[in-house]
Each structure stands twice: as structure tokens, then as C-alpha cells.
Amino acid sequence: MIEFRSVSKRFPDGTLAVQDFSLVLPSHKTTVLVGSSGSGKTTLLRMINRMVDPTSGSVAIDGEDIATLPPVKLRRGIGYVMQNSGLLPHRTVLDNVATVPLLRGTPKRQARADALVLLDTVGLDRALADRYPGQLSGGQQQRVGVARGLAVDPNILLMDEPFGAVDPIVRAELQQELVRLQKDLDKTVVFVTHDIEEAFLLGDQIVILREGGRIAQVGSPADLLARPADDFVASFVGADRGRRVLHVERHGAEDVVVDSDGRLAGVLNGNPAEGDR
């Protein structure tokens, strides 16, 4: 369990990135921080592994204030995946995955063997093990990034817009992979994105952020869609327009579902409970 206790962060240049932010991120769930740029979502994420230290307030992992932990040791126990993969360009794929175990003193042979298994886990061909990051596609690099994040079998996995720089088709593929992985691995995942669709797809708990790290609403995807706290959230999740607002039309003998623009969204199948209409 990760807990933010009235955390604020003012950067040296004076910008207030996060203001009095409190939140509990439950264990073994995926919490998605979603907001536009300037919402402080990445700053919040980086507070969890002390890449950023709060100006006031504290962050606790399983009840322990992380300010008391040495940052380097803390980071080695937390998986981190970033947008541009952040791989070391002069090391092979395998050595990149094995980076953190080697830092922690795992014998080289062992670390490499484990890394090979991780390539399987993230759906990468073992033949790529000896390639350099620059020789991989963007999607493959991100998979290596995920494998590196998982290399020390961390309880917590931090993901900072990990699929932001790949094309839409690859992104969809990677998102599905992550859903599958999380089913198997059951980590506490903290995921940052500006894409609400991605948040709905991956998140158990979604945090919608306004500017300056203020929480607009926290809840499950269904909560946010069905009961947006205000217009900001409604507009952000798109509850007020397009294909989020569906209604049923009678078409001959069948019920078809149509969105607010009148475009056909699907066919109503089975007997849904009355209340859901």
C-alpha cells in the first residue's frame, strides 16, 4: 500500500507542481494517475521512488515513511518504466534487463538467465537478447523497459506514460500485454497517462488530476463515467458526448445501440437487467 499524506511540491523555479495531495493506492491494484500536462502526475509518480522529494507532507509504503530510506536502495526495489524506455544505448537488451539485479549483487550468470526468462514474460523473442536498444522498434524497446522494471520482482511497478511514444496499433498491443501480465503478476502498479481510454482500460482505481496535482475525482472507471463529480470530470472522461453516451433504438425486431451522434455502436445482446438500461 502506498500512501500520500498531504504532499506538496514546489520546484526551485517556483512552480507549485503538487498541492496538498492525499491518497491511498491499494496493494495489488493498478492505480492510474491521469491528467493533462502540468497536472503534476509525473511528479507524484516520481515521489514514490524518491526521484522527487516532497517539499512538505510524506509518502509511505506499507506504513513506512520513505523519507527515512536511502533513495538508491529504495529505487532498486521498485520497478520503473518510462516513456522513452530509458534503456542504456551501449548495453545489449539482456544486460539492460539485468541492470538492477547486477547492481544488487546477483551473480552475472544468474542475472542473465533470469533476464532471458523475463524476455519470455514480456513477449520478446530470445533472439533479440544480444541486440542493442537502437536496433529495436519502439514497441520492442518498451517491452524491454517493462522487463527491466520487473527484473527484481518488485512489489511496486511505476509506469510513466510507458506507451506514449509508440504508434496506436503497437500501443493497443502493449496495453493488452500489460493487462495479461498484471493478471499473472499481481503487482501494485502506478500508471501515469494523459489518455483517458488507456486509464479506463488498465486502471482499477483512477485518479483524475487538475492543474497543480489537485484531485478532481478518484474512483473506478464505472464510478467516473456514471457519477462524474463535476463538469471537469464529465468533460475529461467524455461522459457528456460521443460514444460514451449510448441509447437503444428499436430496429425492426432487434435492439441496436446508438451513440449521441446517431452512429451505430452495436447490437443489444441477451437480456440485460432492467436497471442497466
Binding site: R76, N84, G86, P89, V100, G134
Partner: protein
């Protein structure tokens, strides 16, 4: 072309291979002097450059000082130091170490600066200590530009060591000044050709070294980069072997 024939004859003349003025001896002096100067300058410039490159502090000062140092005419510095410490090898050593520092310093810190900040950030985020970031990320990735700086410094020192013969009994430059005094053009030209050959040979060696120190995976020779991989582009761009900072 007669002049060159005379110069070549002078170079091949067996009498020039014995005694205290022998060509091999002068060549060795020139090389040892260059090497020692480079080692001394590197001992100062590399740690300092790494510190500047890693912390990002003191860069403005380094740029200004280096720029100022480079505008100072070498001959002036040589003669001035020679007047202070007397005729001998000390003056050239001091003057040339000072002159060799700026290119090495620049090579060291620009090597670090050219690394994609996100690569360093990621290394820190996965739990590398600052020392490990320097050792495992910044030093290997910054090596090509450092070697470029050393290459500039070497050519600079080889050249200035020739001039140093004006104030000290040292190196191949002696032939130039001795020939000038006795109006022996074959000696002047022969000595000049030797220095030029030495400089070009070292230039060639450094060109080869630079090919080999580009870390594998960032040389751009390891095959095409897939679309959407924007991350490594700045690094590989700045590490191009034909980068103007490294080739002179």
C-alpha cells in the same frame, strides 16, 4: 623539387642517426614530451571535466576560461614562461600543459552533456548511485567526445612542441631552428617533413581509435533505427564519428 630531394637525403643521411642530435633521439624526445604533457593535462582536465559534466555546475566558467586560454598566442606564453623559469624543458612543459587542458576539458564535459538526459534519469530511477551513473553510463557514452578532445590536444601539443624548441633543446623542432641559424634549408625542410609526418600519423591513429571507442549500440553502424524510437537519436547524433568537435 630539388629542395625536397635534398631534404629527403638529409633525413636518410646516416650521420643524422648518431650522437646527441640523432633523428631517433629527437623523435623520442618529441613523443615523450607530448605524452607527458598530455598525461599531466589529462590528470587535471578529465576529473574536472567529468565533475562539470555530471553536476552541470561551473560550465560557464570553464567555457570562458577555455575560450580565453585558446585566444592566447602560444609563442607568447612559451617565451613568457621561459623568461620566468629560465631556458630549459620546464617552460615548455608548463606552457603546453596549460594549452592542452582546454580541449581535453571540453571533450570531457561535452561528452557527458551530449548524453540524452533521459538515459541518465532512467539510470538514476532504477537505482544507480551517482558514482555508478558516472562509471557505467556517462564515462562509456562520453568516451568518443573525450577521445576527440584528446586528439585535438595531441595535435596541438605536437605542433607546439616544435615551437618549444625555440626556448628549449627539445624535439624535432631543433632541426628547424638549427637549420634556420645555419641557413641549412635541407635540415629545416627535412625536420619540417618529419614533424608533419608525425602529426599526420598521430591523426590517423586517433581516427582509428575513435572508430573503436564509440560504444557498440550507439555507433549508428549497428543497423537502422526503427521509427518511433526518438530516445537514442540525440546521443547517436552527437557521437557521429565525423562530428565537427572531434575532427579538426
Amino acid at each position: 623539387m630539388n629542395l625536397f630531394a635534398d631534404a629527403v637525403n638529409w633525413i636518410l643521411e646516416p650521420a643524422n642517426y648518431v650522437g646527441s642530435n640523432a633523428i631517433p633521439l629527437r623523435l623520442a624526445q618529441h613523443l615523450v614530451f607530448t605524452l607527458v604533457t598530455l598525461v599531466m593535462a589529462s590528470a587535471i582536465a578529465i576529473p574536472l571535466g567529468y565533475l562539470i559534466g555530471h553536476t552541470g555546475r561551473g560550465r560557464g566558467l570553464a567555457v570562458t576560461t577555455s575560450g580565453g586560454l585558446r585566444a592566447i598566442p602560444t609563442l607568447g606564453l612559451l617565451t613568457l614562461v621561459a623568461l620566468w623559469v629560465g631556458i630549459g624543458v620546464v617552460a615548455p612543459y608548463v606552457a603546453l600543459t596549460v594549452l592542452a587542458i582546454p580541449p581535453i576539458l571540453a571533450g570531457a564535459y561535452t561528452g557527458f552533456e551530449a548524453i540524452d538526459r533521459r538515459t541518465v534519469d532512467a539510470a538514476r530511477a532504477v537505482g544507480m548511485s551517482e558514482l555508478q551513473i558516472v562509471q557505467k553510463v556517462e564515462v562509456p557514452l562520453g568516451l568518443p567526445l573525450l577521445i576527440g578532445g584528446l586528439r585535438s590536444a595531441t595535435l596541438q601539443v605536437i605542433a607546439t612542441a616544435t615551437l618549444a624548441a625555440y626556448v628549449a633543446d627539445l624535439g624535432l623542432g631543433r632541426y628547424l631552428f638549427a637549420g634556420l641559424k645555419t641557413r641549412d634549408y635541407a635540415e629545416m625542410l627535412g625536420g619540417s617533413m618529419l614533424v608533419i609526418l608525425l602529426a599526420l600519423a598521430l591523426e590517423g591513429i586517433f581516427a582509428l581509435i575513435q572508430r573503436f571507442v564509440v560504444p557498440r549500440g550507439v555507433s549508428g553502424r549497428v543497423g537502422g533505427r526503427a521509427p518511433g524510437t526518438t530516445d537514442s537519436t540525440p546521443v547517436s547524433h552527437s557521437l557521429r564519428t565525423e562530428d565537427p568537435t572531434v575532427a579538426r
